[in-house]
Amino acid sequence: MTMTAVLLGVLAVTMAVAVWRMSAGPTDADRVVAVDLAFVVFVAAVALLAVRLDTPAVLILVLAATLLGFLTTVAVAHLLERWSS
């Protein structure tokens, strides 16, 4: 299981990049991109954690998180458009 631990570490770094982009911008559009990436990273991490914890039941989160990531991205993009309309 050390393999998944290493991969999880890599994903942590990518999440950190997403967080940094959310914070740094420079435009709000960049932040929305980062949100999208954060959810992707989360989904990958959940899948790997399911392996690590040996609990397939956890995988239901993959579906939920994919859906939610999509909705969140759309909602935040929507916010951005409403500001500029």
């Binding site: 914070s23 709000d28 039941a57 989160l61 939920a64 909705l71 909602a75 916010l79």
Partner: protein, 902 residues
């Protein structure tokens, strides 16, 4: 209960009944109701006569009935000699005042309230002097305070401030009395007045003794208008004259005198007591008399005169010798007679001549000879001139003061001051008479008032004149009163003529000095007018507004409009608690640390980074995004901690929160306002965070699996059939929490419906929705999948991660998605039916077990074709409905922002 004891209750009840009847009497008889009430007072006096005769024989009539056990208040009434004397004043003078009212009050006006209050006041005063229980005494004491407040208030709008001053000053004394009574009860081991008064040794030996004495004195001084509380009494003269006559001649102010006399049995002869009473009393006597001498308003003059006379009484009680006490008692009686007369006469003059100012009045003697005569009689009595009763009492007072032995030379000082006050008294007595009645006749149209108007004054004046030579008639009463005040005393017999005694010499000196003062009145007046006026009322007002101002300052932080001003305090409280915790850190039960997984550290680092970015950003969109990121990271942490249900729910909640925030933010500016005082906030927040971390470290993670946790893990499957233990806790073991929590959501939804009334153009979304063209197909494509996921989570929640909340939240995302995609909801997918069905279903499923004799929320199964429908599933369905109801409400009310209306 003896028959006579019953008479005491009957007397009090009768006063109450009279009071309640007085408005009706006023409606029936108009102002003449006063005559009926006067008769009533006399009847009450008659009721008390048998008891009085017992009291005068040295006995005491008592009545006792338990009121409350703890705190113990006993409704005990007790009539002894001292009480009898004061009853006589209350009822006798009361009857005269009541008989005076009808002619004084205006015809045709409504006086029911005045009569009611006067009678109530008389009743309270009667209760005060009859009270045989410490706390009952306080009860009646406060009732006189309140009644007097409203009586002074009868003076109209300008009476409000004086009434407030009187109430607050005497109310303060009342609270002192309350504490005195409570402490006395503790010191003496009883609240029964007679018992307490017999326990002189215990009380004096108690460490509470000085405090009790001080508080008693404070109470008496405020009520009896002693320096520095004297100012309220002249101010209270805005009340109508009958009120002044009753309250300030015979009753209210004498309550303080009564209190001091009553507790002389405990403190008489104690040095501190004596020095305090004599010092303040004589000071008050001299200052009051001097003040009276420069007044022009007759009523104000009488008010200051009252203050002065009360000072003499207090001082005499302070001397504490039997002679002095006897003198004080006799002078109390005499003062009631002459002062009541004078007040009534001033009222007569006021009504007849339209003024009370001696600069406007003149020569009334020729027009109103009878009135003048009566005024003369009362004035002579006040001035202590032969043969009035005032002469006898003043002689006794001089005798008492001269015999003062508190410290060497006390007698001389006391007598000198008493003579000074009395000389001033003589002078202002002359000033009254000369000012009003002497001189040229200015108002020829005036005439003698009707006999009915002056008859009450006449009775009092004549009594004062007759009782001087016949003072021995009063001996049984006075001697018994003295005995009650000082049980160990050998009371003297009063004599009209003491022979050529030192007191007679002092009287002569008094009169001579008084005459000098009067003859030099112009110079004296000029001199007095130049003296500074001690304006106690203004000082009181300054203190009063200072207190109000201090209150405003105290309340100022709580008028702030900024949330931070309020939220900082719990944060600070937490920090303080943390500091306490650090000091207690080596106490029993404190331990450190839950273990952690290496992956935890990675999650933690991410968390710290995201939180730091979140608090620093001023971009609203960054904040929303980072909040979502924090949610994702925390969800990962929950997954690592073995809580997939929590992670799932958190994720759903997080996204719905972020979407809601995005809806709301679309109305607001994309940048947060520039913060101020960031450093202080950061310091406080940092400290709170540190405390939270230390608290978590010290107070969690150091114990075995809890018995409850073990039970749930073990019992979940056999007892409920569920394999997802968390879900069985939610719907089976602790369903009540879940019901409550779903009700919270229902309430939040109802609140939003109330807070944000619906848009007139109907549901959210619709043609204005932003991404209709492209998201519409996506919505059509995904909706069955989302619905399936929701159904799966709901049905499998008992066995795998999921359940009512998460299933409904997934369905909720579909609703939100539908809004973004411009798809309108169906009619049943609106808040009201969802919330109603959820609430009813949740409560009903819980209640359904009760008819079978099972507790609320006991699970059961309904047989349906193809299996069983279990109540936990129905219960979860209720949760589902309410959660979905909230999400639908949020989308409906928050989705359509201002931007939509353009």
């Amino acid at each position: 209960m003896s028959g006579e004891g019953g008479a005491l209750v009957a007397a009090l009840l009768a006063m109450g009944v009279l009071a309640l009847l007085s408005p009706a009497l006023d409606r029936r008889l108009g102002r003449d109701a006063g005559y009926v009430l006067a008769v009533g007072f006399l009847v009450v006096a008659a009721v008390l006569t048998p008891a009085a005769s017992t009291a005068l024989d040295g006995g005491a009539v008592t009545f006792s009935h338990a009121w409350t056990d703890s705190p113990e208040i006993s409704f005990t009434l007790r009539m002894d000699g001292l009480a009898t004397l004061f009853c006589l004043l209350v009822l006798g003078v009361g009857a005269l005042i009541m008989a005076y009212c009808p002619r004084y009050l205006t015809a045709g006006g409504r006086h029911g309230r005045t009569y009611l209050l006067l009678t109530l006041f008389g009743g309270a005063m009667l209760g005060l002097v009859l009270a045989g229980d410490l706390l009952l005494l306080f009860v009646f004491w406060e009732m006189t305070t309140v009644a007097s407040f409203f009586l002074i208030g009868t003076g109209g709008a300008r009476a409000a401030r004086p009434a407030v001053r009187a109430l607050l000053v005497t109310g303060m004394g009342g609270l002192a009395l309350l504490v005195a009574m409570v402490l006395l009860g503790i010191a003496a081991g009883s609240t029964d007045l007679a018992t307490v008064l017999r326990a002189r040794e215990e009380v004096l030996d108690s460490p509470l003794s000085p405090a009790i004495a001080t508080l008693l004195i404070l109470a008496a001084f405020t009520k009896s208008a002693q320096v520095p509380f004297q100012f309220w009494l002249p101010g209270a003269m805005v009340a109508i004259t009958p009120v002044s006559a009753y309250l300030h001649a015979a009753t209210m102010v004498k309550a303080g005198i009564y209190l001091l006399l009553r507790f002389s049995a405990l403190y008489s002869g104690q040095t501190g007591w004596s020095v305090c009473l004599m010092g303040v009393g004589l000071l008050t006597a001299v200052l009051g008399a001097a003040q009276a001498l420069r007044e022009h308003d007759l009523k104000a003059l009488l008010a200051h005169s009252t203050v002065s006379q009360l000072g003499l009484l207090v001082a005499a009680i302070g001397v504490g010798t039997t002679v002095a006490l006897a003198a004080a008692i006799l002078h109390t009686f005499a003062h009631a007679l002459f002062k009541a007369t004078l007040f009534m006469i001033v009222g007569v003059i006021d009504r007849q001549a339209g003024s009370r100012d001696i600069r406007e009045l003149s020569g009334l003697m020729r027009i109103m000879p009878v009135t003048a005569t009566l005024a003369g009689l009362a004035g002579l009595s006040m001035a202590g001139v032969l043969p009035m009763i005032g002469f006898v009492s003043k002689e006794s007072l001089f005798q008492g003061f001269a015999g003062a032995d508190v410290f060497p030379g006390a007698g001389v000082v006391a007598a000198a001051l008493a003579v000074t006050a009395s000389a001033l008294t003589f002078a202002y007595g002359m000033r009254i008479f000369y000012g009003a009645f002497a001189g040229p006749m200015l108002q020829r149209q005036l005439h003698e008032p009707s006999w009915a108007f002056i008859a009450p004054a006449a009775v009092a004046a004549v009594a004062g004149a007759v009782l001087g030579p016949a003072v021995s008639v009063l001996d049984p009463l006075m001697r018994q009163a003295v005995l009650n005040a000082e049980p160990w005393a050998v009371p003297p017999y009063f004599a009209f003529w003491h022979g050529l005694s030192p007191e007679l010499f002092l009287s002569a000196l008094t009169i001579a000095s008084g005459l000098v003062l009067f003859s030099e009145r112009d110079r004296v007046d000029r001199m007095l007018q130049r003296l500074p006026r001690p304006d106690g009322a203004a000082a009181f007002d300054r203190v009063h507004s200072a207190v109000l101002g201090a209150g405003a300052v105290v309340g100022r932080p709580d008028r702030s409009d900024s949330t931070a001003a309020y939220l900082a305090r719990p944060a600070a409280a937490l920090v303080v608690l943390g500091c306490v915790g650090v000091f207690a850190a080596d106490g029993p039960g404190i331990r450190a640390g839950a273990p952690s997984d290496p992956v935890d550290w990675g999650v933690l680092a991410l968390l710290a980074m995201a939180v730091a970015a979140l608090v620093r950003t001023r971009s609203a969109l960054a904040a929303v995004s980072l909040l979502g990121a924090v949610g994702l990271i925390v969800a990962l942490w929950f997954l690592l901690a073995g809580a997939p249900d929590v992670a799932l729910t958190l994720l759903l909640v997080e996204v719905l929160t972020a979407m809601t925030a995005a809806f709301v933010l679309s109305d607001l500016a994309p940048r947060f306002p520039r913060p101020r005082r960031g450093a202080a906030a950061a310091a406080l927040a940092g400290a709170a965070g540190l405390v939270a971390a230390l608290g978590t470290l010290a107070l969690t993670g150091g114990r075995e699996l809890s018995p409850a946790g073990a039970y749930f893990l073990e019992a979940a499957e056999p007892e409920t059939g569920g394999r997802n233990v968390v879900n069985t806790i939610l719907v089976d073991f602790r369903g009540l929490d879940t019901l409550g929590e779903a009700s919270v959501l229902a309430a939040a939804a109802l609140g939003l419906l109330l807070l944000l009334p619906g848009q007139p153009d109907g549901t959210a979304g619709g043609p204005r929705a932003p991404y209709g063209r492209v998201l519409g197909p996506a919505h059509r494509l995904l909706l069955p999948g989302i619905a399936g996921l929701s159904a799966y989570l709901f049905l499998r929640g008992h066995y795998e991660p999921g359940g009512g909340f998460s299933a409904a939240l997934v369905a909720g995302t579909a609703v939100a998605f539908g809004y973004l995609a411009g798809r309108t909801g169906t009619r049943w997918l609106s808040p009201r039916p969802l919330l109603a069905a959820g609430l009813v279903l949740g409560a009903a499923v819980g209640l359904a077990a009760m008819p079978l004799g099972d507790p609320f929320l006991t699970p059961f199964t309904i047989a349906v074709p193809g299996g069983g429908l279990s109540s936990p599933l129905l219960f979860d369905a209720a949760v589902y409905l309410m959660v979905l109801g909230l999400v639908v409400t949020v989308v409906d009310r928050l989705g359509a922002g201002r931007g939509e209306h353009r």
